[in-house]
Amino acid sequence: MSTDLRDLYQEVILDHSKRPRNFKPMPDANRSAEGYNPLCGDRETVYLKLDGDRVQDVAFQGAGCAISTASASMMTERVKGMTRKEAEELFERFRALITGAKPPVGGGPELEKLEVFSGVREYPVRIKCATLPWHTLKAALNDQGQTVSTELSEGPPAESGGA
């Protein structure tokens, strides 16, 4: 396998995509949101148990590509116990990492293990796969109660046309 593919599909990412953590329904969730990526046809649901402003528990379900599944899995591990503000700050940092943008100044949690997604930067069409779970998490945190589409966020337009 070529080295650059390994930059994208790092062992940790492959492991999480094959054995996603917190991949389960959450019947007692008090928040949830559905994310949709028209490029892959992926849909995934993020469930939250919010205690005041703090993420007490988080889980997800759905079908997605390896990048979006691993991103969701590692996101749920990382944001458990965080406040809404911390989770949103982490998303901004994560987004900066994979788009190659300047990281946001100021505090907030470090990326830590999420650094493995830095290879996504070299695959612009896959950025949305990595951010889908985060957009969905944000929607659940803010109780938007509707499907969020990656097409309403960053990047070039994904598949809506062509043959």
Binding site: M1, S2, D4, L5, L8, Y9, L14, S17, K18, P38, L39, C40, G41, D42, R43, A63, G64, C65, A66, I67, Y123, R126, C129, E159, G161, G162, A163
Partner: protein, 419 residues
Amino acid sequence: MSTATRPAPPARPAYDVERLRRDFPILSRRVHGKPLVYLDNAATTHKPSAVLGTVRTFYEHSYANIHRGVHELSVEASEIYEKARERARAFVNAAEAREIVFVRGTTEGINLVAQTYGRANVGRGDEVLITALEHHSNIVPWQILCEEKGARLKIVPIDERGQVRIDELEKLLSEKTRILAVSHVSNALGTANPVGRIVALAHARGVPVIVDGAQAAPRIPVDVRELDCDFYTFSGHKMYAPTGIGVLYAKAKLLEAMPPYQGGGDMISSVTFEKTTYNILPFKFEAGTPNIAGAVGLAAAMDYLGAIGMDAVEAHEDDLLSYATARLSAIEGLTILGTAEHKAAVVSFTLEGVHPHDIGTVLDREGIAVRTGHHCAQPVMDFFKVPATARASFGLYNTREEVDALARGIEKVQEMFRP
């Protein structure tokens, strides 16, 4: 001279794919350090030097606006443009050149028919019939029309092999049906529909038929008079011609009765503020300055295909289809979607445990271009209960070796995503 027996010379020159490949400059480039293996021909095709050169020569020697000036360049450009129309007439064997309307592509061809013939003939309570195989461009224009008119869109189902259910089609053709829209070849699955038979069934009920020929025109010989369809539309860019040009064929008597599509220059014969008289066919449907050079390029592509012979192109692609089907079917965990008895060279597939998008990324790094996604046919994906597929679609320049490269690429994908 040897007296040993020699094999009889073939009746026609053998299909020399290596020679044809040299006609396409882009095929010699490398992608991610690997030779390009371009298997996304159902999305768009590459352009041979003959097409590129003809367009360039036209711009360098004969270009001006058409149907407008008395000056020499305008006269030449008009002649070349109308010769392109005649070339398109011959390509689909239409009766008359005025039955050929140049459009931007298949999408515009379908929208033109929906917005002119459709608006004039579909009313409240009427029905428009399409099939479950259609590309979004043969669904949405009819939805817009039905919504505007209070008409109903009816869908002919497909079977598990991805074939249109002709028995259901017969049942759904009713006295309320005003038009039937069907693809000649499915872009998502490759199914080749029995259009001649479908047209005969529809005509027996007095229903006109529009055929989406986007995938058929580059792959199989098309004869609109033999099909007896009322409308047939296709895109240049999928048949080795430039983007932004396509053809709508329609029977003259229908075009004459239809209201115009867009208003503007060239589509009129006289204008006063009180009344406008529309131009004769086909100019009534070509408002504004058309894609003149595109039409010239399209005619060059038709000449190119004509020189090879559409029968030969079809035979070559059939061989690739059989080979690819056998080669890919042998891969464990690979499922081919769309196994119609009559198919064109499109192989849509899924791989157990691997998302199509990951297949696409890994293949891309091998220099192999395939399409992944819903192929603008979400209802087809829903029917097979998959969010997406990977799709290899072949063109006249593809080879069996490229099929082998695809198969090796898929094995790499499996290696990476092995559970």
